[in-house]
Symmetry: C2
Subunit: 287 residues, 2 copies
């Protein structure tokens, strides 16, 4: 039976540590501030934003939600982002995705200043993944690293197989594991004989958004299985991995829910504090 | 016996096509212009720059070499780059690497405007590899694609194994093959049991800079082997692949010299013309 990697417990650890770090920063006069820009009134997005605000409050981060109408003009949204870029009290800016269809997401994300880009989606930040020296990693990817490191699962020299190459999770996770010196196999929708690759994995990251994609025959005995999928099936949340069956074979596995999910919000907070600290250091450098 | 992928012949094709394209552009009043910035008097760098100038002249591109002293101050070099960024007659800017040790290469490359970054080394351009919609690919990587496409070697759904993850060749080549829907295995110095991976390759790219790294036992029968290595051994140029032995087993193979090398310079010219055309289109868009 696999060891269960308890994301909720790890997220709690991360937030406990952050609460202390933030309280020390506040003593020096630095109040980390995150602004979430929410366009439109999508119920799911609104609910995500609420949970981000709650988490911020929980660790002592100042969080502000800017609500914009669904029909906002692209240039108006960009001007709002530019005002946030210039506002020295704001350390982190997040544009809640998805945006309404009339807005060009790529163009808009270009206007979040790279030094405030808490999601790590600006091309300059993406480009830095390649150099192995990014300012930060996207929240879910950073959460996967947190799980592996706190569970003392080695990465360097191991075979990491990532199924899914989304810009938000799969691709940056492949880059992170490469930066930590895994040999990385990047699989996706056009991969032929997926199982041939997944069975090689010491660390298998399932991020395809497809329930029951990974069964016991797809996994090597003793592998670490990280399930990033969040799929709603018959009113229940399930991942991309057939948990009950794979648990028998894997060495360690994240459940859904309660695995990677809780880390994503915790890492948003950690990234915010990280950006605030960098901002502070740079300000001191100018004194 | 493998088919020999003749890089010299393919580079000639590319340049012949470019010569025609440039001559048509010149008729419309657009003279593609490349500026090469050469710092110091390294003999190898000077020789590379000369061959780039010659190739430019050969296809009708206006090439200028700006020679700077080895002890130039970083800010002075950056100011020179900024002048080139503002010069509307310049379409492509290349900073010949390596730079003298007192200069911060990353910082300097940040100051080549992304729209003139003919090498594709600006973080914004690197970031665009991830979205699968880059402005251009780095010259050697683009040359590998040219070889595969002109030799009608399919990429999508095939297994591509890249040995070496340098920012200049290995890593961007992995991203290019991923963007063309290969399943990509990225290997490097810390990969354990390299052979286990290379033997899976339908397309094997050797870019480690290590003579005789790839022998016949490392290759699947019928594989396409792209040798990017350029190593000087006993006065001869050899690649990373033991050509004579691997040729017996591979389906297709590039020689060294005469494989990827000639494409790198040809693709610098193709990238220059590409940037000039984009510049022209954008200018027309503003009319």
């Amino acid at each position: 039976m696999a060891r269960i990697l308890d994301g909720k417990a790890i997220a709690k650890q991360v937030k406990d540590e952050l609460r202390q770090r933030v309280s020390q920063l506040r003593e020096t006069g630095l109040v980390p501030k995150l602004v979430v820009v929410l366009v439109g009134d999508d119920a799911a997005s609104a609910s995500y934003v609420r949970s981000k605000s709650r988490a911020a409050q929980d660790v002592g981060i100042d969080a502000e939600v800017i609500q914009m109408p669904a029909n906002i003009a692209e240039d108006e949204l960009i001007r709002a982002l530019e005002r946030l870029n210039e506002d020295n009290t704001v350390h982190a800016v997040l544009v809640q995705l998805p945006l309404p269809a009339h807005l060009d997401t790529d163009r808009i994300l270009m206007h979040v200043h790279p030094a405030k880009d808490v999601d790590g989606f600006h091309p300059v930040n993406i480009g830095r993944y390649a150099t192995g020296t990014p300012l930060l990693w996207p929240c879910t990817t950073a959460g996967i690293l947190e799980i592996l490191e706190r569970s003392e699962i080695p990465i360097a020299g191991r075979t990491a197989v990532i199924v899914g190459r989304s810009r938000i999770v799969g691709w940056p996770t492949a880059q992170l594991l490469l930066a930590h010196n895994a040999t990385v196999i990047q699989c996706h929708r056009q991969t032929v004989n997926l199982r041939e690759y997944t069975r090689q994995a010491d660390i298998l990251v399932a991020a395809a958004g497809q329930p029951s994609l990974i069964g016991p025959d797809d996994v090597k005995v003793g592998a670490t299985v990280i399930d990033v999928g969040i799929n709603r099936v018959g009113g229940h949340l399930v991942g991309d991995v057939d948990f009950a069956a794979v648990e028998e074979k894997a060495g360690a596995i994240t459940p859904v829910p309660g695995g990677v999910g809780p880390l994503t919000v915790a890492m948003l907070m950690k990234n915010t504090v990280h950006l605030a600290e960098i901002h502070q250091r740079e300000k001191e450098g100018f004194r």
